[in-house]
Structure formats: structure tokens, C-alpha cells
């Protein structure tokens, strides 16, 4: 029996290759995600271990707010006074204790005038330490005076800078000029751990610019005397210092450092695996269809085997055996293709990690085969059962495809569809705990897709009839339309694959369009600025003097600078705040009072939103104690509660207070309102001139700003399109496959048509119409399902920024048009094949 299965496998190589391609692409997506992220994660671990190798224990001050494992920069770090170093050095077993100055936020202006940005890695500013065993000078020296800095090789390359060059650095203070005294890399020849930039100042400069206070340290690096383990030393130091300090072994530090990266990598992995899942799901339809058709073609052969005594189990096993072989071969190909894609992704997205090496991690290999084989076997279940039901007598009959009732499958589909829609509604509008929402939602979407796919056959005939009417003006068109309605199950399966891809594409399009429309509406309603000062990143700032000077320009009505800062409440929870000149901000940001007064704030007064008031149980006149970065604990009195705003909901304090309390004493965002009739162009030019020293911020009109924002949404959207395109490609392969098999099945019919005078061209047109009808059918379903999903999600997020629903009709029309192109494209090879049908061979039956 296996020999028969093997033989039939070999004789249908091409067919199986096509169905296998779906598995290959799916496995490729899975394995590339795993290979890339696992390899990177391993190499990050080792790199962090390396840079901490020369330290045994690290001491830091307990941050004001708990870091809860997130970004440590936002945990409001506290700094160490010199006496802490003396106390640590005095602990028995300590060999050396060195104070370090180390913080994110040293931004360097490149030679082209633009600030060097890193995608993810920090931009560090440190105090130079000779011979710390980590940094290794390549040229020049460390900074010898306060106007010198040493920079790492990444900066030297990006600048480009060489020793002796002047370099401008933005820190907690406005832009300052230095001379490059030296360039360093990491010991071991690496440029950096992960593409981070480092500026090394002298200690006093680093303390002032990076930590904002003279004479303090961000951490103490401790080495152990011989005979002391890091763990023993840690216990001893922690005991000696008492409360208020965090003491960790270098192993723990490395783990914490890499945790950030690992978190990003695991998110990235989940993202890629999500798309791999979609690809595989779509692939199942293709494989299922191929196996079904192959078995339909082999009805006689299977019946013969049955009449010769093969049991039903044997037939099932032989189909599974074929599926197994296809699965294993495809998984192997997919695994190797995945390695290639991982290498490509690495060079595109992680080019600064050239040191990281990719390898076939066990997880990737196991997942590739498990997923590939499982998906193929799942797809083969239905065809296998169908094959086993072939009656022995069918060998003697002419195998006419008997049409089976579609009632059962339609009912099953409707039930799944209802369950899925219920699940989606439950996830979106119910009160599930946060962690299960996405799971229920995904399951719901999966059920909806399966349900729609099962219902599709029963709507295929009428819908295909309607779609095909557009092509019925010619005979080949009519024949093509009829052919596509001929086997509703097959047409439906083929179209369903396209439906899924397009539904997801349409869904995210609806989300993006709604997000953009909502954003635009919000800005229109809440923002009445003529000009905005926009930072390029979260830590970008500009000189506060600029706002004062803008206010003095003729034609300017109001100008505000917004200071971002974080404080901690008594429990150590972070509280984000904004400092601004409220009196000037009222007409620009349209702030209205809900309770109390919205007016210029006095010292230690605060305006809060309704959400904040509810969350903290505050009202007008009540007070709250908050720990600030620069001035310790302060008590703020609530002056008023402002009416709900989409753009911000954090507590507001005066800009004077902000400069006193926040870590950064410079504003990041700004807004300007002009007097009626003012020359906007001229004023914009002047503001741009004032901001020449702050290359991280740009001036934009409100319209430009809105455009920038929607541009960001569109960038994400385009990325999603690119990833979802994989699912569409598989669907196209499905159409090609179905058509090719149909041509094969109908060779005699084609021969007869050609014999009675159908030209080659018309035969090609007939196949093309069939293809276009199938693909438009899938597209229409996809657009409908996708719009439904998109609308549901938008409605569910109504109170989270999606207050407007926008359906991108033009874009959807384009998708419909593209589906025609897809149909035309998919038809090319099958149509050529149909045109080449040898009339004589097709009609002879001897």
C-alpha cells in the first residue's frame, strides 16, 4: 500500500510541489522568526555578560519609582553621593570600588547638522575611566580637560568624526561644543554591544550634563578581593549600606540589561509568528484543495485498490503517508528558506549587530518540522476520509463527480461563524481580563474565517453568477463563469484563501483610516495652534529661552513650551506630568474647566483630568504628595479639574515648577498662536532661526503635523501590507493550482471545444475569466469580512482614540481592482496550458 502511495506521489510531483509551496512559505516564516530572534537573544546574553565581566558587584541608589522591569530610564533613578563609595570601599572583601557616571540622553549632532538617532539602543553619556577593561581606546586619548570628549566607534562612523574634530552634544543642557580627544571600542574588537552611541566626558562634566547634579554617581562598580564570591560580597555590601540601595552581582546586572532587549525580541518574535500563523492558516486551504482534487482524479485508482482488498484504513493511511512526505520535504525547504530570510532581516533591521551569528537553533528546527508536518496532516484529514469512502464499484463506473448536499457543511459553517462573531464581540465589548482579550479575539477571528470558508460553497453559485455576469458578453466569458460555478466547494476553498488575506488587509485598513480620521478630528477640535515645535524623539528638547523670544515677535499672540517629566507617588508608582504656562495654553489647547478653575497656576498648584481625579480620589482643593526628580517630595494642591481631552490627561503644573522639579529643565514640544493677519511664513522663518541650535526639533504648521502623524500610521500600515502579502501570494498559488487541475480534468472538454472551432485565444480567455471570477469572489468576501472585523474593533476602541469610523472606500475599490489583476496573473500558466491542449489526444479514447 505504501509502495502504491509512494508511486502516486512521484507521478504527481508538480502538483504536490505547488501544494507544498504553501507549507514551505509558512515554515519559512516560522523558522525565520525563531532563528533570528533566538540567535540574537543568545548573542545579546553573551555580550552583556562580556561587558560586565570586569565587575563583580554593582551598587545603585534605589530609584524613586519602581522600575517594574521596564525601561530603567523612566524609573527616576537616584544618584549616589561620594560617601557611598567610601562606605562600600570599607566593606571587608572589597578590592576596588569605583563611582560611575552613566546615563542615556547624550545626543550628538552629525557633520550634516542632523542629530544621530539610534533605532532602540541608548545614546549614552559617561565619565571616562582609564583602563576599566571594557572600553578600549583605538586612537587618541581619554578626555584630558572639560572641553574634550572621547567617543565610541559607532559615533566616529556615523558622524563621521576623527580625533581633533569639534563635536556638538545635546544633554540635559542645551547644545555644547567639545573636541574629540579619542575614539574607543569594546574590548575584543567590537564597536558596541548593540549599536549604542557613547560620549565619554570628564567626570565633573558628565555629572553636570548627564545626571544634572555635580559630584554624584549613577552607580558603583565593585571588584572582589580574592577568595570572595560576588554573591558573598553582595550580601556584605547590602548589609553595610542598609536601605535605599540596590546591590546586584554582575550576573544579575547582565540579566537585567538584556531583559530589555529580550522583551523587544520576544515581542518581535510574536509579531513575526503571528504572520507565520496567518500564512499557514491560508496554506491549509491550498493543501486541502490540492489533496481533494488529486483524490477526485484518482477515484478509479483508489476504487481499484479497494476492490483488490485494500481496507478503508489502508486508504486513509496512504493519503496520510503522502501528506507526511509532502510535509517533511516542504518543512526542510522552508527551514532553509527561513534561514535565508532571517539573514536578510538581520542585515536590514539589525545591521549594527554584525557580530551576532545566526544558527539553526533547536527550537527553530523542531518548530519548523512540527508545524509543517502538522499543518499538512491536518489539511489531509478531510481528503483522506473522502478517499476512504470511495466505493470499490467506482472503479467500474465512469467516475462522474457526484454532487453532495452542502446543507451539513453550511450549517456547520454558520454555527462556527456565529460562535466566532460571538467570541469577537465578547472580547471587544465584554469585560474579560486584559490578558485573555487578544486570545479570545484571535480565536474568534479564526472561527469567523473558518465559518465563512464553510458557508462559502453554498453562496458560491449565486455570487459567482452575479460576478460573472460582467464577463458574460462573450462566449468564452460565459463558459468561464459557468466553469467557476461548477464545483462550488473547490471554488469556495480557493476563494476562501484569498478572502482571509484580504479580510486582514481590509481590517487593518479600516483601523488605520479610522485612526487617522479620529486623530485629525482630535487635533482639529483640541488644538488651535498655528505653528508647532515638534521633537523627533522622546528625549529631544530645545532651549526654553526660545519661547520667550517667540512671545516677543510681532504678530505672535501666544506661545507655550511643554515640559515633560515624571514624579513618583508615595507608593513608588510613576506619575507622568506636563509643565506649561496654563494662561497662554488655554486658547491654544482649548482647556476648559470641569470643576474648580482653569487659570494661571501658582507655585505647587496642579490641574488634573477627570480620570486622574477619579483614580486618586482627588477634587478641587485636595492635595497630593509627589516625589520629584530634583527637589524631593512636594505637596501639590488641585486648583481645578479640566474637561476631558483626547490629547492629554496627565496632571499639569506651571512651567516654572517644571523647571525646578523635572529631570530635564528644557521643553520638548511647543505651540504658537498668531494674531489675525500675521505673516505666518515670516514668523516661521524667524522661529526656525531661533531653533538653529536645537537640531532635534522642527517647526510645522498644524496641518503638516497632522500629516506627519497619519504618515506614521501609514508607515505601519504599509509594513503590515507587506507581511500580509505573503498570505495573498499563497492564495494566488491556490488559484493557479485549482485552475491547472481544472484544465487537466477538463482536457477532453477543451479538446471538444477546440474541435468545434474554439480558438486558442478564446480558450485562454475562458480560463482567465474563470480565474478572475474566483479571485473577485474571494476579494468581495474578504472585503466584506474585513470591513466587518475592522468596524467591530473600531467600535470597541471608541473610547481609546478611535472616536471616528472611517471606511477607506477608494482603497477598497483599489483592492477589488487588484483582485482582477491577481486573477489575470494566476490565469497565465493554466491558460497557456489550456491553449496547448492537443485536440486529437484530448478527444481520442482508445
Amino acid at each position: 500500500m505504501f509502495r502504491a502511495a509512494w508511486k502516486s506521489l512521484l507521478s504527481r510531483k508538480l502538483r504536490l510541489l505547488l501544494s507544498g509551496m504553501a507549507v514551505v512559505l509558512g515554515v519559512m516564516a516560522v523558522s525565520s522568526a525563531l532563528i533570528l530572534t533566538n540567535s540574537l537573544s543568545a548573542s545579546f546574553d553573551s555580550m552583556f555578560r562580556t561587558i560586565n565581566a570586569n565587575v563583580d558587584v554593582q551598587v545603585t541608589a534605589k530609584p524613586l519609582a519602581e522600575s517594574n522591569g521596564e525601561d530603567e530610564d523612566n524609573a527616576m533613578p537616584q544618584y549616589l553621593k561620594p560617601d557611598a563609595i567610601t562606605r562600600v570601599a570599607a566593606v571587608p572583601g572589597v578590592k576596588t570600588a569605583v563611582g560611575q557616571v552613566d546615563a542615556n540622553g547624550a545626543r550628538v549632532v552629525a557633520k550634516n547638522g542632523k542629530v544621530i538617532v539610534t533605532q532602540g539602543p541608548p545614546r549614552l553619556g559617561t565619565a571616562w575611566r582609564d583602563g576599566d577593561g571594557v572600553a578600549e581606546l583605538r586612537t587618541g586619548t581619554g578626555p584630558k580637560s572639560d572641553d574634550q570628549v572621547a567617543i565610541n566607534a559607532v559615533l566616529a562612523k556615523e558622524g563621521p568624526f576623527k580625533v581633533g574634530d569639534t563635536i556638538e552634544v545635546l544633554t540635559l543642557e542645551p547644545k555644547k561644543k567639545f573636541t574629540v580627544s579619542g575614539i574607543f571600542g569594546l574590548s575584543g574588537g567590537r564597536d558596541s554591544v548593540g549599536g549604542e552611541t557613547i560620549v565619554a566626558f570628564t567626570e565633573p562634566v558628565a555629572q553636570k550634563l548627564m545626571l544634572g547634579q555635580p559630584g554624584v554617581y549613577s552607580s558603583i562598580s565593585v571588584t572582589a578581593a580574592s577568595g570572595q564570591t560576588p554573591a558573598q560580597l553582595k550580601t556584605a555590601i547590602a548589609a553595610a549600606l542598609g536601605d535605599g540601595y540596590v546591590v546586584r552581582t554582575s550576573e544579575e546586572v547582565a540579566k537585567a540589561q538584556s531583559a530589555d532587549v529580550q522583551e523587544f525580541l520576544s515581542l518581535f518574535q510574536k509579531f513575526l509568528l503571528g504572520f507565520a500563523g496567518i500564512t499557514l492558516f491560508v496554506g491549509i486551504f491550498l493543501i486541502l484543495n490540492t489533496f481533494s482534487i488529486l483524490i477526485a482524479q484518482r477515484t478509479r485508482e483508489l476504487a481499484l485498490l479497494r476492490s483488490l482488498g485494500a481496507g478503508r484504513g489502508q486508504v486513509i493511511r496512504s493519503v496520510f503517508f503522502e501528506a507526511l512526505i509532502v510535509g517533511v520535504v516542504s518543512s526542510t525547504l522552508g527551514l532553509f528558506a527561513g534561514y535565508g530570510v532571517a539573514a536578510l532581516l538581520k542585515s536590514l533591521m539589525f545591521s549594527n549587530l554584525s557580530e551576532a551569528t545566526l544558527s539553526f537553533t533547536p527550537a527553530a528546527v523542531i518548530a519548523a518540522y512540527a508545524v509543517g508536518v502538522l499543518v499538512t496532516l491536518v489539511a489531509a484529514v478531510v481528503p483522506a476520509i473522502r478517499a476512504s469512502r470511495v466505493a470499490p464499484i467506482a472503479a467500474l463506473r465512469d467516475a462522474a463527480a457526484t454532487e453532495k448536499s452542502m446543507v451539513k457543511i453550511t450549517v456547520a459553517g454558520a454555527v462556527l461563524l456565529a460562535a466566532g462573531a460571538g467570541g469577537i464581540a465578547w472580547a471587544l465589548f465584554g469585560s474579560l481580563p486584559g490578558s485573555t482579550i487578544s486570545l479570545v479575539l484571535m480565536l474568534g477571528v479564526l472561527l469567523v474565517f473558518t465559518g465563512v470558508a464553510l458557508v462559502t460553497p453554498s453562496v458560491a453559485r449565486p455570487m459567482v453568477g452575479v460576478i460573472g455576469r460582467a464577463f458574460s458578453w462573450s462566449l468564452p466569458g460565459k463558459l468561464g463563469r459557468r466553469n467557476s460555478a461548477r464545483n462550488p466547494r473547490r471554488t469556495a476553498n480557493t476563494a476562501a484563501a484569498l478572502m482571509i488575506g484580504l479580510a486582514l488587509i481590509t481590517g487593518v485598513s479600516v483601523l488605520a483610516a479610522s485612526l487617522n480620521a479620529s486623530m485629525e478630528g482630535t487635533f482639529k477640535r483640541e488644538l488651535s495652534a498655528d505653528l508647532l515645535i515638534i521633537p523627533d524623539s522622546g528625549d529631544a528638547t530645545y532651549d526654553p529661552e526660545v519661547i520667550t523670544r517667540i512671545k516677543n515677535l510681532p504678530g505672535v499672540d501666544k506661545a507655550i513650551g511643554l515640559y515633560g517629566g515624571v514624579t513618583a507617588d508615595v507608593t513608588g508608582k510613576r506619575v507622568w506630568m506636563t509643565g506649561l504656562d496654563v494662561a497662554s495654553a488655554i486658547p491654544i489647547l482649548n482647556i476648559k474647566a470641569k470643576a474648580g478653575e482653569v487659570r494661571a497656576l501658582k507655585h505647587n498648584e496642579m490641574l488634573i483630568s477627570q480620570q486622574f481625579a477619579d483614580l486618586r480620589g482627588l477634587g478641587t482643593g485636595s492635595s497630593i504628595k509627589l516625589k520629584t526628580a530634583r527637589a524631593g517630595e512636594q505637596t501639590f494642591v488641585v486648583a481645578g479639574v479640566y474637561a476631558p481631552q483626547e490629547l492629554f490627561s496627565e496632571p499639569l503644573i506651571s512651567d516654572t515648577d517644571a523647571r525646578e522639579y523635572f529631570q530635564s529643565q528644557m521643553p520638548g514640544v511647543g505651540a504658537v498662536k498668531l494674531k489675525p493677519g500675521a505673516d505666518e511664513k515670516q514668523i516661521r522663518k524667524e522661529i526656525e532661526g531661533m531653533l538653529a541650535g536645537s537640531p532635534e526639533v522642527a517647526v510645522a504648521s498644524q496641518a503638516e503635523f497632522v500629516k506627519q502623524q497619519s504618515g506614521q500610521v501609514d508607515t505601519v500600515l504599509n509594513m503590515l501590507y507587506a507581511l500580509l502579502a505573503l498570505a495573498v501570494i499563497i492564495a494566488i498559488m491556490g488559484i493557479v493550482n485549482t485552475l491547472a487541475l481544472s484544465v487537466l480534468e477538463r482536457t477532453r472538454e477543451l479538446g471538444m471545444l477546440r474541435a468545434v472551432g474554439l480558438s486558442r485565444w478564446s480558450a485562454m480567455r475562458m480560463i482567465t475569466v474563470e480565474s478572475v471570477v474566483i479571485s473577485v469572489f474571494g476579494a468581495v468576501l474578504g472585503l466584506a469580512v474585513g470591513t466587518g472585523l475592522g468596524v467591530a474593533v473600531v467600535r470597541a476602541l471608541k473610547h481609546e482614540g478611535f472616536d471616528e469610523l472611517a471606511v477607506p472606500w477608494t482603497r477598497m475599490l483599489v483592492f477589488l481592482g487588484l483582485s482582477v489583476v491577481v486573477g489575470l496573473f494566476a490565469a497565465i500558466l493554466p491558460a497557456i496550458r489550456a491553449a496547448r491542449v492537443n485536440v486529437l489526444q484530448a478527444i481520442s479514447y482508445e
Binding site: 459557468r482 472538454e749 471538444m752 471545444l753 474541435a755 472551432g757
Partner: protein, 248 residues
């Protein structure tokens, strides 16, 4: 109607497959003329080349040497496009099976060649044909809803409705029971008698051949004889003789 009395003819037609040792001669210089308004049957044992001859005459297959004419038109040397047009406009076909498109109704199947050509049917002639084949109440049916005999009658109507120069029928009764076969054959003979249609039928059934006006016998790629106004017995005798000759 064209002036010549010959609907189709083959002149010294050779059909050779392969070359050298593996060479097979399917037709070895066959010349035959098919008179207009006549029902001709081509008979011969398996491998005699009768189907090949028909395929060559119908423009379905190319000849190695010699010439084929349909009416006044020289078929030999035509391009695929010209051959397609010839089959569409001047030739009708009836095959043993797979005659009809399952997606089309009986009526649509009958009108298929005309639709392909983009021509309208002559309504009076269409009605006549339908009446003759007795399918008036079956026009809206799909092929799967028709019996084998009915399907074959639809195929006959399809061949007739375009009034082709000549209809080629390849074992048209091969898949039918004798009663349905007789119906179809009677109908073919009628259309020759009543409407002056030219029909060429390939068959190995002496009984079917007896419906023809003339039987041309083929053996080993050569014309091996002919009978006019044959009876089934006469055909059978000739066949036996040919088989016997072939056995030596």
C-alpha cells in the same frame, strides 16, 4: 451551396509517425472523394487508419504528404488559426463521448459552434433540427439530465445546426444501446436524405455502416474496397474478408 459535387477529398494522403526503425505508416497514400449529400461510412479493423483518415479530412490532424480539401478549400498547409476557423464554419463533429459541455443546457450546447463564431442561428432551421431530433421538450435540460441517446441526439443537432459542408461522426453509436443507436443513425440518414447534408462516419459496427449510402473499407492504411447501398451482411462479409487477408 458551392458548385462542386465533392464535399471533402483526400489526394494521395500519407500519415507517418516516427522515423527510421520505429516508423509507423498510418495512412499509405489514401485517395478518397466524399460526394456532397451522401452518407459515407469508413470501416476497418482497429489500427486500419480509419480514425486517422477522418482526423486528417476534418482538419484535426496534419498529413505527412498529399493534400486534403474540404469543399473548395485546401486544408493542407493551413495555420492553426485557419484550421480553427475551418472547423468552426465548415465542419461539424459528433464524437463517441464527451460530446457536450456539462455546464451548458441542451439548447446552449446545440448553439455552441454558432456562439463561438458569433453567429445567430437561423430560427426556422433550428426549429426544424430540434423537431427532427425530437428534443423540443428537453432544450432546458443539462446533459446530466439526459439519457445517452438524448445526449448523442443533442450532439447531432449541434453538428447540423450550422449547416456545415460536412459532418464527421466518430463512432457516434459506440456508447449507446442498440435502440438509441438506431435512433441516432436513422436521424443521421434522414438529414442526408431530407436536407442534403454530407456526413462521414467512422465505425467498426457493420450494422451502423448499413445505414450509409456508401462504405469505404480501410486496411493497413490503404483503401481496401468499397460498397454502395450496403446491407449489414454485405459489410460483415467484406470485413471478414479483410480480417482474413490481414491475418496472412
Amino acid at each position: 451551396m458551392t458548385s462542386t459535387a465533392v464535399a471533402a477529398r483526400a489526394d494521395e494522403v500519407w500519415k507517418v509517425y516516427g522515423s527510421g526503425e520505429a516508423q509507423v505508416i498510418a495512412l499509405g497514400g489514401v485517395s478518397v472523394s466524399l460526394a456532397r449529400g451522401e452518407f459515407t461510412a469508413i470501416m476497418g479493423p482497429s489500427g486500419s487508419g480509419k480514425s486517422t483518415l477522418m482526423h486528417c479530412l476534418a482538419g484535426l490532424d496534419t498529413v505527412t504528404r498529399g493534400e486534403v480539401h474540404v469543399g473548395d478549400t485546401k486544408v493542407t498547409g493551413m495555420s492553426d488559426r485557419q484550421l480553427t476557423a475551418l472547423r468552426r464554419d465548415k465542419v461539424g463533429f459528433i464524437f463517441q463521448q464527451f460530446n457536450l459541455l456539462p455546464t451548458l443546457t441542451a439548447e446552449e450546447n446545440i448553439l455552441l459552434p454558432l456562439s463561438i463564431a458569433g453567429r445567430k442561428a437561423d430560427q426556422a432551421w433550428f426549429d426544424t433540427v430540434i423537431r427532427t431530433v425530437g428534443l423540443a421538450d428537453r432544450l432546458r435540460h443539462k446533459p446530466t439530465e439526459l439519457s445517452g441517446g438524448q445526449q448523442q441526439r443533442v450532439a447531432c443537432a449541434r453538428a447540423l445546426v450550422g449547416r456545415p459542408e460536412v459532418i464527421f461522426a466518430d463512432e457516434p453509436t459506440g456508447n449507446l444501446d442498440s435502440r438509441s443507436g438506431a435512433e441516432v443513425l436513422g436521424f443521421l440518414r434522414n438529414s442526408v436524405r431530407q436536407y442534403n447534408q454530407t456526413i462521414v462516419m467512422v465505425t467498426h459496427d457493420p450494422n451502423a455502416a448499413s445505414y450509409a449510402d456508401r462504405v469505404v473499407f480501410l486496411a493497413d492504411g490503404h483503401i481496401a474496397g468499397e460498397l454502395r447501398n450496403p446491407t449489414a451482411d454485405a459489410v460483415l462479409d467484406t470485413m471478414k474478408r479483410l480480417d482474413g487477408a490481414g491475418a496472412h
